[in-house]
Every structure is written in structure tokens, then in C-alpha cells.
């Protein structure tokens, strides 16, 4: 049936967990583009047929006309599905820049197509250049601050750190009560986690 494959592609997108990427389905994607080319061929041959009969393509309403219309509409629908697939994935990819930063972990990178990887790189560069022209880092302060101090647990041996006027030994698994601004740099590097009640 026409359009079934494109529907499956979009359904894959819709049934995935929100904000999570499913692996890029290049197989199915290529099948749909192949279907598009097939539609186009049939469309052209029908139109040729109309022309050979010496009829005007714009006004003729015979079976060839309606046949070609079906091929045209199926093609347009396939295009919309393909675009939706890539467009919505691009939206998730952009949100990843905010969530995980400019370098993607291996397991996410594997799910992207080649052009998607390129897009991710280009878009984070665009974002980076905006922030440097603004001279303000927008990737910190993602949640509204409640308390200037937070409780953290150290996840990795950081060692002795000098902050303000005192030195603290951030040994692994130790817990500390720190200024949020001091702790944030460690948290974003995955060296500490915030403890919440």
C-alpha cells in the first residue's frame, strides 16, 4: 500500500520516548525515497500518456489524470513524512546540546546519521559563537536557584581544592555543603552530584 512505509517511519518517531533518539532508520528511509522515485516515474508516464493522446494536461479529467493525482499526492505525503522524521529528530538533537553539551557520548552518537552528526556540530558551533559574542555562558544556571548552598556528594577523587580562603579535601564519596556556584563546575563535569531530599 502506498505510504505505509513512510507512516511506519513517523510512527517510530512518535512511539519513541519523548526527548530520546531512536537509532536512525536509514533502511526504511531509503525504502521510502525509493518509493518516491517510483511514484515519480509512474506519474511522468501517465502524464506522457495524456499528452500523447493530444489532450491538455491542465484540464483533462480522465482516468490517467486521477491516476497521476494519486501518485502526486502519495509522493507529497511521503515527502511530508520524511521531512517530519528528519525535522523532529533535529529538534531532539538541538535539545541534546543543552542537556549534554557540545560533545555527545558514544551511545547517542551511534544513533545519528552522518548528516545529523554534521548538523549537531554546526549547530553547537552557531550556539557557541552566539554566546561568545554575547560574552555570557547560557549553559549554566539551568534551574532556578533556591539556596546559595547545596549538599553534594563527591563521585570521583578530586583531591584538595582551594576555595575562598580555605582548602577542602574532596575525597570520593565524601559529602559537603558548598556554595552552589562553586559546586556547579564539578557537577557539570560529573565529578559531584547534588543531594536532594
Amino acid at each position: 500500500m502506498y505510504g505505509r512505509k513512510a507512516f511506519q517511519l513517523v510512527k517510530e518517531l512518535a512511539s519513541g520516548e519523548k526527548g530520546q533518539l531512536t537509532p536512525y532508520n536509514s533502511d526504511l528511509f531509503d525504502q521510502v525515497t525509493a518509493e518516491c522515485s517510483q511514484h515519480h516515474l509512474e506519474l511522468q508516464s501517465l502524464i506522457r500518456k495524456i499528452q500523447e493522446e493530444g489532450l491538455d494536461v491542465q484540464t483533462t479529467r480522465n482516468s490517467e489524470h486521477y491516476g497521476s493525482l494519486i501518485h502526486h499526492l502519495s509522493l507529497v505525503r511521503n515527502k511530508r513524512c520524511l521531512m517530519a522524521y528528519v525535522y523532529n529528530r533535529a529538534e531532539i538533537i538541538r535539545s541534546l546540546i543543552w542537556k549534554v553539551g557540545p560533545v555527545l557520548p558514544q551511545e547517542i552518537q551511534e544513533r545519528l546519521s552522518h548528516t545529523e552528526e554534521e548538523y549537531f556540530k554546526r549547530h553547537s558551533a552557531a550556539l557557541q559563537s552566539y554566546m561568545s559574542r554575547l560574552d555570557l555562558d547560557l549553559t549554566v544556571d539551568m534551574v532556578p536557584p533556591k539556596d546559595p548552598y547545596i549538599q553534594v556528594r563527591v563521585l570521583d577523587d578530586i583531591g584538595v581544592v582551594l576555595s575562598d580562603d580555605k582548602t577542602t579535601n574532596f575525597a570520593r564519596h565524601s559529602m559537603h555543603f558548598l556554595k552552589r556556584t562553586d559546586a556547579e563546575q564539578f557537577i557539570s563535569r560529573g565529578l559531584m552530584e547534588e543531594l536532594t531530599d
Binding site: R133, L134, L138, R180
Partner: protein, 220 residues
């Protein structure tokens, strides 16, 4: 005694009026509007410039205080105030960026919307548009038959751009008026609405859009 107590409400009123026009309050209002509005609003360039100056000043003050042995409690209060302002500023700019990312094709085709962006945002929007266009071009459009390769139209025979995601202006928003608004006509309908200050209203964004842009109505 009586004269004193009589004058207090006046002072309180003045104080509240004064507080509500500090730059931080104005930023909070701009942030709230931006957050709730489905479309991108005018960039508050003068306000943002003032806020950034104030943040710098506050940072210097906090640094100076914490070096000079002033009561740590008041230093941490200053710090907290500073943190909140910085969050507001960053979040405000972030929300705008996300709207630019989301409606990049709509923005690049519409000079009225473009005029609402700051210079830097315009640069970002342009790159955003180029990148996404290129990505869609390479992933999808180049694989389609010739007549179906347009990025804004479904096919060559579409008369207008029918593939551009646009903000939904008829979504509902919660809003309140800053002052008494006499019966006014809602945009796009013949209904009349009267709003008292601080009355909460749930209404189509579309129908109060211009009043939000003029600053008469705030979104919540």
C-alpha cells in the same frame, strides 16, 4: 498619630510602585511574558543592557564584601540576589534562542518577526536557518524528484509556502492587566472584554497579542 497613620498607605503605595519598576522586576516581567507567549516578543535591549551593568556591579560588590570581612550572612544575601538575577537573564535569553531554533523558517521569511530580535540573535537565526536547511537538503530533499525539492513548499504546484512551522497564536494563555482596561474589542472577534488590575483571565493569545506587545497586559 492620626496624620502619620493616614500617610502610611500613601508611602506603601509609592514604595510598591517604586519596587515594581526596578530593572529586576522589569526583567522578571519580560521573562514571564516571553515564557508564556507562543511567539517571540520584542527584545528588551535597553533593559538587558542595564541589567548586565547591574550584574557586574553586584559581582564587584560581593567580591569586595567577602574580601573585607563584612558579615558573611549579608554577603550571602547579596550573592543570592545576584544568582537570581543571573538566572532570570540567562533563562530569558535561552527561551528566546529556543524559539528562534524552533521557528527558524518562519522567522527567516518574515521581516516583521526579524525586527524583534537583537543583532546577535539575528546572526544566530541566520546560521540556524542555514544549518537546518543544509541538513534537510542533504538528508531528504536531494533524494526526491526534482519538482519536490523545495524546502518551504510541498511541491512545485503549491502556490504558497505550505511547509513552514509557525507558532500557534490561538493557544490559550493566562494573563492579567496592569491597570483598568475599559471594554475593548478582542482582536479577531467582536466580543468586548473589560479587565480590572490583577484579574486573572484565560484567553486566546491571538486576541490580546497587541496589548501584550504594548505592555498593557502581562502573561502569567
Amino acid at each position: 498619630m492620626t496624620s502619620e497613620s493616614a500617610s502610611t498607605p500613601g508611602i506603601d503605595g509609592d514604595y510598591e510602585a517604586l519596587i515594581s519598576t526596578t530593572d529586576v522586576e522589569l526583567l522578571k516581567r519580560a521573562w514571564r511574558n516571553e515564557k508564556a507567549a507562543p511567539e517571540i516578543l520584542h527584545f528588551e535591549s535597553a533593559l538587558i543592557q542595564r541589567i548586565r551593568g547591574q550584574i557586574q556591579l553586584m559581582e564587584e560588590t560581593v567580591e569586595e564584601f567577602s574580601g573585607s570581612g563584612i558579615d558573611p550572612l549579608s554577603v550571602s544575601l547579596y550573592q543570592m540576589d545576584l544568582d537570581r538575577t543571573q538566572y532570570l537573564l540567562r533563562s530569558y535569553l535561552r527561551i528566546r534562542l529556543q524559539k528562534i531554533e524552533k521557528y527558524t523558517f518562519h522567522i527567516s521569511n518574515n521581516s516583521e518577526v526579524q525586527s524583534r530580535l537583537s543583532g546577535q540573535e539575528k546572526g544566530f537565526a541566520r546560521r540556524c536557518n542555514e544549518d537546518l536547511e543544509r541538513h534537510l537538503e542533504e538528508s531528504v530533499l536531494s533524494k526526491l524528484p526534482d519538482n519536490y525539492r523545495d524546502i518551504l513548499k510541498q511541491s512545485l504546484i503549491s502556490e504558497e509556502n505550505d511547509m513552514v512551522p509557525e507558532p500557534h497564536l490561538d493557544t490559550f494563555v493566562v494573563c492579567k492587566s496592569r491597570r483598568f482596561l475599559g471594554p475593548f474589542q478582542l482582536d479577531g472577534s467582536d466580543e468586548l472584554l473589560e479587565m480590572k488590575p490583577d484579574d486573572l483571565c484565560i484567553i486566546h493569545y491571538k486576541s490580546i497579542r497587541e496589548r501584550v506587545q504594548e505592555g498593557e497586559i502581562d502573561l502569567v
